[in-house]
């Protein structure tokens, strides 16, 4: 059994998950990374995807997050997510709608904005793939 550390997943509306975790896998914007106890202080942005949490009591939780920050400090790990939904409650249709909206944005914009919209679209599609992979 690995060592536990304090983990908090906060969304703007509420503290989604808080407690002792032994292992958390996070979709960082530069690639997935795993946080274990005594991770060195580290900060990164998070892309949309699935966060895998193993609580210290052995319970596993999978949460879909969108947009946010991971802040690993010596006191523990805080994940700030603009949107966080338990995978079992997750509504695929909403994501599809957002993807459709992002596609329209790409079509309607140009120049710098287009690049931004494309980045958003790519992230959304990635996250859809991640959700589908996690479900099957």
């Amino acid at each position: 059994m690995s060592e536990a550390f304090s983990f908090e997943l906060v969304s703007p509306e509420a503290l989604v998950l808080g407690g002792e975790a032994s292992e958390v896998v996070v979709p960082g914007s530069e690639g997935y990374f795993t946080v274990l106890a005594k991770h060195s202080p580290f900060m990164t942005t998070v892309k949309p995807g699935i966060v895998d949490v193993k609580m210290s009591d052995g319970e596993a939780k999978r949460i879909f997050v969108r947009g946010g920050f991971a802040d690993v400090s010596p006191d523990g790990f805080t994940l700030l997510a603009e949107q966080a939904t338990m995978l079992e409650d997750f509504n695929m249709e909403e994501l599809d709608q957002d993807i459709q909206a992002a596609r329209d944005d790409v079509k309607d914009s140009d120049g710098e904005k287009k690049a931004k919209a494309e980045a958003v679209l790519a992230q959304l599609e990635d996250s859809k793939a991640a959700v589908e992979a996690a479900r099957n």
Partner: protein, 296 residues
């Protein structure tokens, strides 16, 4: 002097009003509790956000590469005022005090020859400002149909503000809302959103260990900050909306408490004059009967 019947009707109508204000007060009390819970729940996120912002921006101090959202555009000619108020009235001076603060600042800025635009969140602020600033009032965002205003709504406002900033429509953005102090006191507040004022909270500053820790950043500090600043805007707006919601209910509660008490006083007064008049009439009738009997 009103007749007995008129008095009786007035007492009945004031009593009905009192019942309504009493009910409104109780509803406001229940909603206030809910609003406070929501504000409480949102606190960890904005606190963490402020901490992260303070951490990163401390390292960015004085550097030229600071993003526009923090450093500003270098001019302060164009201003945007975001005025957040309630959707409904009957809450004492709540709406008018926010509107007054915004109006004073708007007059100040106009007197200094600045360009000004106003975005209203909430219908009441729009109503209060539309007479004087109809030309520069941009838009009103209302959440009237939405029961529980969530982060999505704050995000919607923020997106609008940010896209205006990207199009260089303003340089400085100020947010007006009411800080919830207690049920009897709500303080209309203005807060500069853009460029961001990073305030290092006391507990962060005193927590020297946390600041000393050497963080690794991935991607670079600048990129994180650039990503973080636009995200901070909806968080601040969301916080303002929640503070506003709590303040509104608090203000309504005390306003309705006052109204209920006033109605009680009016009822007492009316009842007194009703009784007096009835007594006078009885006396008058008695005198008529007695003098009628004496005449026989």
């Amino acid at each position: 002097m009103a007749s007995l019947k008129e008095l009786r009707n007035r007492i009945a109508s004031v009593k009905a009003t009192q019942k309504i204000t009493k009910a409104m007060q109780m509803v406001a009390a229940a909603k206030l509790r809910k609003a406070q819970v929501a504000a409480e729940a949102a606190r960890p996120y904005s606190e963490r956000m402020a901490k992260v912002m303070a951490n990163i921006s401390a390292g960015m101090e004085g550097s030229d590469s600071a993003p526009k959202l923090m450093a500003g555009t270098g001019s302060d000619q164009n201003h945007l005022l975001v005025v957040a108020t309630a959707e409904r009235g009957l809450c004492g001076g709540f709406n008018s005090s926010i509107a007054r603060l915004a109006r004073d600042q708007a007059r100040d800025l106009l007197a200094q020859g600045k360009q000004l635009k106003i975005l209203c969140v909430g219908k009441k602020g729009f109503d209060a400002l539309k007479m004087e600033f109809s030309g520069i009032l941009l838009d009103v965002v209302t959440f009237r149909e939405i029961k529980n205003v969530g982060f999505a709504q704050a995000n919607q406002v923020a997106t609008q503000v940010l896209s205006m900033f990207d199009d260089a429509e303003f340089d400085v953005c100020t947010l007006f809302y009411s800080e919830f102090q207690s049920i009897i006191s709500q303080i209309p507040t203005s807060q500069q959103l853009i460029p961001a004022n990073v305030v290092v909270a006391d507990d962060v500053a005193s927590d020297a260990d946390a600041v000393d820790v050497h963080y690794e950043y991935e991607p670079s500090e600048e990129e994180i900050l650039e990503d973080l600043l636009p995200r901070n805007i909806p968080v601040q707006i969301f916080r303002a909306i929640l503070e506003n919601a709590a303040s509104e209910q608090g203000a309504r509660m005390s306003a309705m408490d006052n109204a209920t008490r006033n109605a009680g006083e009016v009822i007492d007064k009316l009842t007194l004059s009703f009784n007096r008049q009835r007594q006078a009439q009885i006396t008058k009738e008695l005198i008529e009967i007695i003098s009628g009997a004496e005449a026989l």
